[in-house]
């Protein structure tokens, strides 16, 4: 279990994270999202006891990162973003070093290395020098070192970056399988990955948490608008003109005129309003054949972009208001 309260980290005068609060229950896989420079890596570095916080507290398995750093590190597997490995080492030697560093008892060491190598699919390259491995295998070695010692907490920064689709699926399945007995924090920019793998999502922007929920709740509650996909037998201008007049419709966009005489169009409306009956009614009134109509659920990517953009606009307008106050 991970508990973070009022976590703050300053680099000089700049706050990389400010008053961050969240909680991750044991057995949960949590996606940690945010644009570059949002404070994800800083939060992860504090949780892994790599760097101390300037304020607030972070507890891992009930132990404080400031006071019980060594005990926490014993229970933790970490995969940093760029997978920094010792390139000159053979995979086997590297994993042996990690096992020794993580204090895996000598008798269990070779068994543990074999278990982890099998789990991430490294058997073929155990004798190879890390420098000569492909990006995918390097990523697996990074994941393997995090898994050595069977830690109950895993913190993974971009674990599938650089992998091919088959490897991505394998690693995702592997991470999913962790949920039975491990707590996982997963940072990634691949948003569909979050929907597939994570139980919950935490979105951080400019050092503060701006949203925290399950992926489905987030897409339901944070979508700024609802989109309808409409296919009708009419020209694009006729259809656009007909749909624009519907109350609560905020935008109409032609996708394509696929078959001659048929138009695909996207209708955007306010999120709380279902405009499908109005669309059907108006098209019938105008004698336009309606071929297809369906609501498109906002993706996590849409939510993420909306939230991050809103936050940006909000803070920009806030800053502007502050500036005006100072000026007056």
């Amino acid at each position: 279990m991970i508990e973070v309260e009022g976590l703050t980290k300053y680099f000089g005068r700049l706050a990389a994270i400010n008053d961050v609060n969240f909680r991750v229950e044991s057995g949960e896989i949590v996606g940690f999202l945010g644009p570059n420079g949002a404070g994800k890596t800083t939060t992860m570095r504090i949780l892994t006891c790599y760097t101390p916080a300037s304020g607030g507290s972070a507890k891992v398995l009930g132990m404080d990162v400031a006071g019980d750093s060594l005990k926490i590190r014993q229970k933790l597997g970490y995969l940093p973003e760029n997978v920094p490995l010792y390139d000159w080492m053979r995979v086997q030697d590297y994993l042996e070093f990690v096992a020794r560093a993580k204090k895996v008892p000598a008798r269990q060491r070779s068994g543990e290395i074999e278990r982890v190598a099998n789990a991430v699919g490294l058997q073929e390259v155990m004798g190879k020098i890390i420098r000569w491995l492909s990006k995918g295998y390097r990523q697996r070695v990074g994941l393997a070192q995090a898994l050595i010692g069977d830690p109950p907490i895993l913190i993974l920064d971009e674990p599938t970056i650089g992998l091919d689709p088959r490897q991505i699926r394998e690693i995702r399945n592997l991470i999913k399988s962790f949920s039975r007995n491990r707590t996982v924090i997963l940072s990634t920019h691949i948003l569909p990955e979050v929907s597939q793998v994570c139980d919950r999502v935490i979105i951080i922007n400019k050092g503060s948490i701006i949203a925290e929920d399950t992926p489905s709740n987030l897409t339901r509650s944070h979508g700024k608008s609802t989109r309808c996909h409409v296919v009708a037998r009419a020209s694009a201008p006729t259809l656009t003109e007909a749909l624009q007049g519907i109350p609560n419709v905020t935008g109409v966009r032609v996708i394509e005129e696929s078959v001659p005489g048929e138009t695909q169009i996207s209708v955007e409306s306010e999120s709380s309003v279902d405009v499908r009956p109005d669309i059907a009614r108006i098209l019938v009134q105008r004698n336009i054949d309606l071929l297809e109509i369906r609501t498109i659920q906002a993706s996590l990517e849409d939510v993420f972009i909306d939230l991050v953009t809103e936050e940006g606009e909000y803070s920009t307008s806030g800053e502007r208001a502050q500036e005006e106050e100072v000026a007056s």
Binding site: T51, R73, N82, W88, R100, A101
Partner: protein, 256 residues
Amino acid sequence: MSGWYAVFRKEIANFFVSPIAYAVIACFLLISGFFFWANVSLMSLVSLQAANNPMIAQRINMTDIIIRPLAQNMSIILLFLMPLITMRLFSEEKKSGSIELLMTYPITDSGVVFGKFLAAACVLVVMLASSVTFPLLLLMVGEPDVGTLTGGYVGILLMGIAFVALGMFLSTLSENQIISAAISFGAALLFWVMSWITSFAGETWGYVIRQLSILEHIDSFQKGILALSDMAFFVFFAAFFLFLTLRSLETYRWRG
């Protein structure tokens, strides 16, 4: 110092898997071997010339012509070569980013520092041990002063260990290995020649500077004297820079 052994093994492997240790040891043996050969040649030449002059012959001895110059030359060679051993200790980890993983393993900072220090000190010991051939050759052909030989080696070992600590600290300051090596060499040279300015520094400062100078403390070893104060100097010198290395790592953690 939890976890130092894992770091020590990794560092030793790094030194001896890569050509670094072999190249440095080969350079050390080649240059010190050249000086040894030159001094032995000088000794044989002077001995030949003194064969007809008993007064000069009485004054000629191996200690003055071969052993002491060998110890002095080896000290200076180490001054140049030790930065090449220590430059990568932390700079390489910082450059590659592997320090982030290392510092999140359950190893204390003191364990990391001690493991790296011990590995570099081991390379020094191997380097000095491989040069023992020179005194062994002298023992085969003559009767060199074993006390001066031992003193010379103990002095070089202590000085080398002090340089390891100094170089390791300076390698925490930069992620560029060339910069680490350059400042290590500069700092070691400064500690070496410090006593040259004592005559301009006034009585009190002159004394302080003399006490900090490596040249002042290595001299007695090369005369075969194992003075406790000189040994303590090198031990405290190394301990001080190990302490600074730890503080530097702590600062690095804060900077995130």
